[in-house]
């Protein structure tokens, strides 16, 4: 499991981010360093307002920042299909496109000129999230969970180097949430993707992450753990309770400080 024989896909060095419009000069991200290997599933926990989303937006290329971010050795300047964001908002699909068209659209930008080929790829990924039969539906005809599934299919279809997920399941009910966690876990393995997944939910982080980090209010990482629990991980897995306690205590400390 040593890092040497694995490809580093993301290298964040001395990342600093200060919001210019805020009166205080407090940095939301303060000297963040992060190195992520290919096929890692990194879950980032942290109290509200600690800068988790800002970190993701910097990696996605949406924000200006100090320091460097490199994806596969190439410096991040602006957004691109090699880093796809999946948002919490169910409305991230375009309402004027069908499910199929939503998944196909990024493929045009990705450089697949042939419409038939795009549709084949889209159908393949819709199949992976179990929604082929909904391909001609419009987003407003789908439930929240289905919309998030389409968003995941859409992200996977362009084969990004990194999928950046910003609490994608936070607005779902508990049942749907568990179901989608399982699906995502399966997909992340079969598709060999590298994921950064932001969540407030410790259970979610332990079940999904191969690596779990905790961000503090001071704008950097406080905990960084490899998740070596035997899979599949459930709350009754050996070591789950201990791990849960570690993160829960750290989070409590953060919210008290």
């Amino acid at each position: 499991m040593s890092a040497e024989n694995k490809n580093v896909i993301l290298q964040v060095t001395n990342l600093r981010k200060i919001y210019e419009d805020s009166d205080s000069t407090k940095a939301i991200l303060d000297d963040v360093n992060l190195s992520l290997n290919e096929n890692d599933f990194l879950c980032i926990l942290g109290p509200s307002g600690c800068g988790k989303t800002t970190l993701l937006r910097c990696i996605a290329g949406f924000e200006k920042f100090e320091g460097t971010i490199e994806v596969n050795g190439v410096e991040v300047r602006k957004p691109n299909t090699d880093r796809i964001l999946v948002f919490q908002d169910f409305n991230q699909l375009f309402p004027w496109k069908t499910v199929m068209q939503n998944v196909c659209y990024p493929l045009i930008k990705f450089g697949i000129k042939d419409k038939k080929e795009r549709e084949e790829i889209a159908l393949k990924y819709l199949g992976k999230v179990g929604l082929e039969q909904y391909k001609d539906f419009y987003p407003h005809q789908l439930s929240g969970g289905m919309k998030q599934r389409v968003a995941i299919a859409k992200a996977l279809a362009v084969k990004p180097k990194l999928i950046l997920m910003d609490e994608p399941f936070a607005s779902l009910d508990a049942m749907t949430r568990r179901k989608l966690q399982k699906e995502l876990l399966k997909l992340s393995k079969s598709e060999n993707v590298t994921v950064i997944f932001i969540t407030h939910n410790i259970q979610e982080a332990i079940v999904l992450g191969t690596r779990i980090m905790l961000m503090s209010r001071s704008g950097n990482f406080k905990l960084d753990m490899e998740n070596t629990l035997p899979r599949p991980i459930t709350p009754s897995s050996e070591g789950y309770a201990e791990m849960w306690d570690i993160f829960n205590n750290a989070l409590n400390e953060e919210s008290l400080s």
Binding site: A60, P79, T81, L85, N91, F94, W96, Y105, K109
Partner: protein, 255 residues
């Protein structure tokens, strides 16, 4: 049909009331013609006075003006999304010129374009371009951030953003802008036609009304008004409602 039952009953009642008022003889027939004579004028208008040709001519004028006006509104509003400086200037222009009634520009239009179709098309373009631009810009500015970020995430160019994100996302505004613009242009056109009379290429429905008024054929004036209303209804239900049904209603976008 079931949905419009109230409206149909209302229209029938208005017609009946009209006829009753006529028969009581409270108003002179010149001011208040009977339904029968209005219908007869409508018939003779089409059969003898070439009303159909005039309607066609008016429609061809407005179609030409509208297509230029709508195209300009799209291009200029899109530019104002791409450039902030242009946005400031264009916003000012829209606010200023939206206040100027088309008819008030007729003397200038004649001076610039001479007598003919030019000034009428100019008035139609003026009538639609400002309200349409206002609606498009308002729509562009209220596009939800999530769509913009989803688009940016794919590395779309500014042109692609306008074409594939801003336009469809603000389509309900685009449509309402078109409706307002169409109504204003239709009114402006008929006013202009009444002032110009005929052009070398033909005469429109405004000219028809003007002629009927000159001949004190008030039933004929009413007949022309009915034609104007009918065209409005056809455009609303045959065009705008169909587009709405196939776009914003289908997409589940409500305004």
């Amino acid at each position: 049909m079931k949905k419009c039952r109230v409206q149909i009953i209302f229209i029938v009642a208005v017609i009946a009331l009209w006829e009753i008022v006529y028969r009581t003889g409270v108003f002179p027939e010149l001011m208040f013609p009977s339904i029968g004579s209005i219908m007869k004028s409508l018939w003779t208008g089409f059969a003898e006075d070439e009303l159909a040709g005039m309607v066609g001519y008016s429609l061809s004028l407005i179609l030409r003006g509208l297509s230029i006006g709508i195209l300009l509104a799209f291009v200029l509003s899109s530019l104002s999304i791409i450039s902030k400086t242009f946005h400031k200037i264009y916003n000012l222009l829209v606010s200023v010129f939206d206040l100027v009634p088309g008819v008030a520009l007729i003397p200038l239009a004649i001076l610039w374009f001479g007598i003919g179709e030019g000034p009428i098309i100019f008035i139609v373009i003026h009538s639609i371009i400002w309200p349409m631009s206002r609606s498009i810009i308002d729509g562009f500015q209220s596009v939800p951030k999530i769509y913009i970020e989803s688009g940016k995430n794919l590395g779309l160019s500014k042109f692609e953003m306008v074409k594939d994100i801003y336009l469809p996302a603000s389509f309900s505004n685009v449509l309402s802008g078109m409706k307002i613009g169409w109504a204003r242009a239709w009114r402006g056109l008929i006013s202009a036609e009444m002032i110009f009379g005929t052009t070398s290429a033909g005469a429109g429905i405004g000219w028809f009304i003007f002629m009927k008024r000159t001949n004190v054929d008030i039933a004929g004036v009413f007949a022309a008004l009915i034609v104007i209303i009918l065209i409005g209804i056809i455009v609303e239900y045959g065009f705008f409602r169909v587009i709405e049904k196939n776009t914003i209603k289908k997409w589940g976008i409500r305004q």
